[in-house]
Symmetry: C2
């Protein structure tokens, strides 16, 4: 290979920002999450910046929060992902469009069909973020009193995936001949009836839409559990992760890539894309001040609860304006506890400030100048912590515009991110092969 490894960038966009204070930042659009004109502008900006994809997370319920937190949540409602991305497909040409859809609360015929439809509408830009939905509130919206147990959900998910991909292969790529003269519209010998009868699902087929432009839309997964990693290694095209540090990212990367290889696949054909919360400033101090200002918009009550969980120790009775005292050992994950303590010490944060930071966003962050952010991203790429990132913006439109206008050009200068799209499909952008149809070989001459 003559050029360096390339970063892949998704924009993780539901809500438009994960930070609970985003909507109150000076100059931010308070309704950014639910204004289609804004969202069209955002996706067009991302496309100009050559992002691989726009990525819609999703929930199937209003999250169960105390009223005091719920009333402050700008993420309480949102557009439904498939309809939103279909609307955005009409105002974009190249950027990938990834929607979340659940294997626990939907039917494989519907899911296969909708993603095939989005793929055709967008000219091959659809991606399916396959989730099993761990939120117990969702079950109550779908007729289930108790939530489906984790192992059971994963077994169904695996079977669901097999059915969906089988349905996508219902028609050979060349089945639709549309021969006006002879009157033959479709070659029915190039149609496959799936006839699936499994443990959880029974689906006859064929799918009532042509094979997707990409063969199969890109399949994204996010599970970090043992079962989640294994199903991802066997089936996913991309994995969304949330490692809090490069070291943890490298461990995850090595583990999943070796699982991919053991499953008989090329490790390059699964892209690992951690979420990264990025705040851009003209100086590192300015970026940290932006983050600090953003955190002041987080409600103390919700922040202090998150902080107590992260520390494994109730700190809600302490003086919010004092510094964090020594915290005894606890059941909390050691590394995440240590990270919180390190933050407090490094930035000399009061308990209030620390609570608001944790309540705002507590995962992997890159807060600095375009150069320091590019340094971090390059390090992750070169040192095999990831194949790119799902970027999360602190507020909209400023945080997104800063990334597109300042960080992307820096990545491009370093030769680690494209200056123009080279292909037309999401698979092209991610460097993934187009799957063969499992039921129909290509005809010679194709």
């Amino acid at each position: 290979m003559t050029r360096s490894r390339q970063l892949h960038l998704g924009a993780f966009m539901r809500p438009v920002s994960l930070h609970t204070g985003a909507w109150r930042f000076p100059g931010a659009f308070p309704d950014a999450n639910f204004n289609i004109s804004h969202l069209k502008r955002f996706v067009q900006t991302l496309e100009r910046a050559c992002f691989d994809a726009f990525f819609m997370a999703d929930h199937l319920a209003v999250l169960n929060m105390p009223p005091a937190a719920l009333r402050r949540s700008h993420t309480v409602t949102s557009f439904e992902p498939l309809t939103l991305l279909a609307a955005l497909s009409s105002v974009t040409e190249r950027i990938g469009l990834i929607a979340t859809s659940s294997t626990t609360f939907d039917e494989p015929y519907h899911v296969a069909r909708r993603f095939a439809s989005l793929d055709h509408l967008s000219g091959g830009r659809a991606g399916w973020n396959l989730v099993t939905t761990s939120n117990p509130d969702a079950a109550l919206n779908f007729g289930l009193e108790a939530h489906v147990e984790h192992g059971e959900r994963y077994h169904r998910a695996r079977e669901f995936y097999d059915v969906v991909t089988g349905l996508w292969d219902s028609w050979a790529d060349d089945a639709f001949v549309r021969d006006v003269e002879s009157g033959v519209f479709v070659d029915t010998e190039r149609m496959h009836v799936l006839g699936h009868k499994g443990e959880h699902l029974s689906v006859r087929g064929p799918l009532n839409i042509a094979r997707p432009v990409q063969g199969w839309p890109v399949v994204v997964q996010a599970g970090s559990s043992e079962a989640g990693r294994q199903i991802a290694a066997e089936t996913a095209d991309a994995v969304f992760t949330a490692p809090p540090s490069l070291a943890e990212g490298q461990r995850f990367y090595a583990d999943v890539k070796s699982r991919v290889e053991r499953a008989g696949r090329d490790p390059e054909h699964l892209k690992i894309l951690p979420g990264a919360f990025v705040v851009v400033g003209d100086s590192v101090d300015e970026a940290r001040e932006k983050r600090a200002l953003l955190d002041t918009f987080v409600h103390y009550d919700s922040g202090i609860a998150s902080l107590s969980i992260a520390l494994g120790h109730d700190v809600s009775q302490l003086d919010p304006d004092s510094l964090l005292p020594e915290i005894p050992e606890s059941n909390a994950s050691k590394s995440s506890r240590q990270r919180v303590v390190d933050w407090a010490r490094r930035d000399q944060l009061t308990i209030r400030q620390l609570a608001q930071r944790i309540g705002g966003y507590s995962g992997l962050e890159m807060v600095g100048t375009p150069a320091t952010i590019a340094d971090q991203m390059e390090q992750w790429l070169v040192e095999r912590g990831s194949d790119g990132f799902n970027v999360m913006f602190p507020y909209l439109p400023g945080g997104l515009d800063d990334f597109a206008d300042k960080v992307v050009p820096e990545l491009q200068r370093r030769g680690i991110f494209r200056r123009a799209y080279e292909g037309t499909t999401l698979r092209d952008h991610l460097g993934l092969p187009r799957p063969e149809n499992r039921f129909f070989a290509r005809r010679s001459g194709d």
Copy 2:
């Protein structure tokens, strides 16, 4: 009222033409049904012609036909309606967008959410064609060995409707305050938890999207059975019907409107819109020739089967090029049998021609000049056979362009169809009120 009653026009668009020979007509797009660029052009033409709505019918299976018929079917696959209409919402501003969705094979939380999403994406232009799905092939794609029985389907449909509309009312119209200063994004006292537990469905709520722009998207139904008429009278905003003649249309119209009144509703608030297959010519003869040419593209095998069913008598053994002999009485519906016989006599059709006509399209048709078609439409309107029509085009784009460019101006000259949209929502176009939220009264001053 100072102006005459107004026609309402929907374009019934899945497949783009119902006529099985449509894709082979000279100048027609063979891929009209599955080419998003074409479909964007069609919907924009309909919007310029001020149509109330673009209406997507749907199936949840590849229809079970003999291979000889299936391979000639241009309707074998299609886009999924909600994703297609969302994509079309981005290239239109006013026209309504009605999608079909099943109460038997989907979940009310999903259905409520997707139509609410389409309504917000389109600025209040969504409609839900509520169907119970009578096609037994669909059941096999959703894990059911036997099809759900008719009465059972209607009971579930009625409960499903109650849940969907209840979910649409999850939030008061003014719930989202987004007060940046105080940090209150949503007034949680203006949120309603449905907590539905019924015979078929158990759904907690609230819906995770704001109340639709229209309050509730427009609800369309198509059932003509006793149960179908009654549920429509109680709940629908519009009814799609298929009466073969004005007399039958008038009977249906009177029956359903009186049911609406008995249900305590204003009969003007339910619009009855029969399907009408329209072929436009510069003369009546030219229009009939177009129809006859179109019918030649219908495969004889599928046509003769349809003809035998319509007559209640197997005519497949007769000489295809002879005229229709006397046909004995049978179990076939008398009126539809008589209509077929009348066609054969009036136009001196051979058995082949008659079979191809029936196989092409056998419902209500308007074949003539812009003036004779406008005459027919006006008569139906004035004599209370309908409140308008769901127009079906014989082939695309010609059949659609002819209607938009020639018939619509004639209807406008007569003062029975709008020259410009007066409102912005589909409810505005149809003259329907915006439903109050059943859980939240408007605040004084609203």
